[in-house]
Amino acid sequence: MPQPKRKAAWIRLVEQNAGLVLSAVLLVIAIVLYCAIYYAAQGRLPGGFELTTTVNNTMPLVFAGAAQAIVVITGGIDLSVGGVIDLTNALAALYLGDSPLSMVLCTIGVIAVGGACGLLNGLLVAYGRLQPILVTLATLAIFQGLAIRVLPAPGGSVPEAYTAILANFEAPYSLVFIVVLLVVWALVRRTSIGVGIYAIGNDDLAAKSSGVKNLRSRVTAYVLSGMLAAVAGLFLVANATSGDPTTGNGYTLRSIVAVVLGGISLFGGRGTPISAVIGAFVSTMIVNILFFAQIDPLYQSFFEGVFLVVAVLLTAIISRLMRRRAVA
């Protein structure tokens, strides 16, 4: 048989994680641009305060993006992310008490509710064999309705201590939670379920024939996604210090944007939620850049839309170039 022709390890690593690499490059560019514009406007470089605010503002999207990413990797899409955030946000604002015990129990309870929402999605998609986009469209309406039932109007309160833990205004302590997220994901990835999540995203039938527990993997992916969305709801409520049953609505689309900016293929089976975390930060940096470039905030969506298309086009062009090089 022909002689082995192996690629260098680092080339292979870059090629196989093109999305992650590209999103990291995108983030670096965004940060440099931000620093430059910030310097031009303020006469100094951004410091600790800016970092802390940026991190705190991005945390909900970090988890919403990761939630979306897991479902996207299975080849689905989760439109109910915003609904779960609405619901968990409302629940947290209503039930969080001042005692540490109450905070712990309430946090666990809220995450469990998120998991239950995900379970509903997962069961319908896996056992009902329905299209994820449609199932989550329907459950989005259900979760949004439940959120308004729980908390009919913005209100409720969040104990200061809780905010201090999740969205400390002093320093970007929240980065710790991102590390936790990454570690948890690295472990999940190293279980049969983790393998299954990628396998079903690649090819459902092939996964089944390879002995993968398709249904279990799929349901777990949605449960994880629901739990992560619930965490996003908690960060949102901690940051805002009060609840709002509709504040999560925008997160469905924003989470998709984070996934796309993270270079994760919407066709499934490829990419990692870590990219979505990076994508979330890119997304926040764009808003920051626009702010310091003194762009009318009314035009914000315009630029976000343009950046989204440009990012996708760049990703496509670069990966095409890389592939051409690989063939040659």
Binding site: L134, A138, T139, V257, Y299, V312, L313
Partner: protein, 337 residues
């Protein structure tokens, strides 16, 4: 030329065989379901509140359904090729505001304003179509981004709807057209009927419609069969953009004034209407007639719930549950892959 006996057939999809036996294809059956659902809902509505299923009650539901149906027409076209148009909300909203500010209360400027507004919708669709078909951006991303672009432009250019021309009303003629009746039937429904006939004709009787279904069933195979995939895709998104703008115009005429966030409900409703009407979300199967029935069922459902004095959250939940139930009913057939 055959010198050998027939080779055995491979198994066809069970649904196809069953459908052939009944003389109704599964696609047609799903359309029937949606129609039956609509009729049933009118019946239930009549039981809950007398007058609900009176001619004027039905007309009221149909008028609202018309708005959904117009948006869903474009949505159906793009879903048929396995795409989706998420730029609907702000295309519609931008359309309404552009119509209002361009016509500036004047009937005389209305034809010009109509042209500009529909042209804007078509242009949005053109950008979507080119991004998707030429540059290969996934439809979800492209139209999502386009929605943001339009939102930003609409808000920015109108100064958050504070511009001087933003204080205008819909031209009287447009308002009259939206509210008027011909032979006792709302004028707007004639427009819808026209759209229904046109869309059905395009889908069923033209080479363009045939190409659309082919792309939905397999884009690569269509390309290799000589179908102009790029052009067809672009045209379909142009149609979708134009329909969103048209819906914006009609909603403006109906409401008199445009507002921000006007288009938000129509994204999910247009998708839901198409799906309830049996359009397969991954493309290739379905018909606008089904979407029409889906739009009517959807609006009738919301109306019935409102007639029951159900609060907003209850309507939202019920709406979600009903879609799930319908999906489970349909899904049993599509599951036979």
């Amino acid at each position: 030329m055959t010198i050998l006996e027939p080779s055995t057939n491979e198994p066809p999809p069970a649904s196809a065989v069953r459908g052939a036996r009944l003389g109704v294809t599964p696609d047609q059956r799903r359309i029937l379901y949606a129609i039956v659902a609509a009729i049933l809902l009118f019946f239930i509505g009549g039981l809950i509140r007398p007058g609900f299923s009176s001619p004027s009650g039905i007309a009221a539901v149909l008028t609202v359904a018309c708005f959904v149906g117009l948006v869903a027409a474009g949505q159906t076209f793009v879903i048929l090729i396995g795409g989706i148009d998420l730029s609907v909300p702000w295309t519609l909203n931008a359309g309404a505001i552009l119509m209002m500010s361009t016509a500036a209360n004047s009937d005389a400027r209305m034809p010009f304003a109509l042209l500009v507004t529909l042209g804007m919708g078509a242009l949005v669709g053109l950008c979507n179509g080119v991004g998707i078909a030429v540059f290969g951006v996934p439809a979800v991303v492209m139209t999502l981004a386009m929605n943001g672009v339009l939102e930003g432009l609409t808000l920015g250019l109108s100064g958050g709807l504070t511009c001087s021309s933003c204080a205008a009303y819909a031209p009287p003629l447009l308002q009259a057209a939206a509210h008027g009746t011909i032979l006792g039937i709302p004028a707007i429904l004639y427009l819808w009927l026209g759209v229904i006939l046109l869309a059905s004709f395009i889908l069923s009787f033209t080479t363009f419609g045939r190409g659309t279904y082919a792309i939905g069933n397999g884009a690569r195979a269509s390309y290799l069969a000589g179908v102009n995939v790029t052009r067809t895709t672009i045209i379909l998104y142009v149609i979708s953009g134009a329909f969103s703008a048209l819906a914006g115009i009609m909603i403006l005429g109906f409401g008199g004034q445009a507002a921000l966030g006007l288009g938000d409900p129509y994204l999910f409703q247009s998708i839901a209407a198409a799906v309830i009407g049996g359009v397969y979300i991954l493309g290739g199967r379905g018909h606008y007639v089904g979407t029409v029935a889906g739009s009517i069922s959807l609006v009738a459902l919301v109306s019935v719930l409102m007639a029951m004095n159900m609060p907003e959250y209850g309507r939202s939940i019920t709406y979600g549950v009903i879609i799930l139930v319908l999906l489970l009913a349909y899904g049993r057939e599509t599951a036979e892959r």
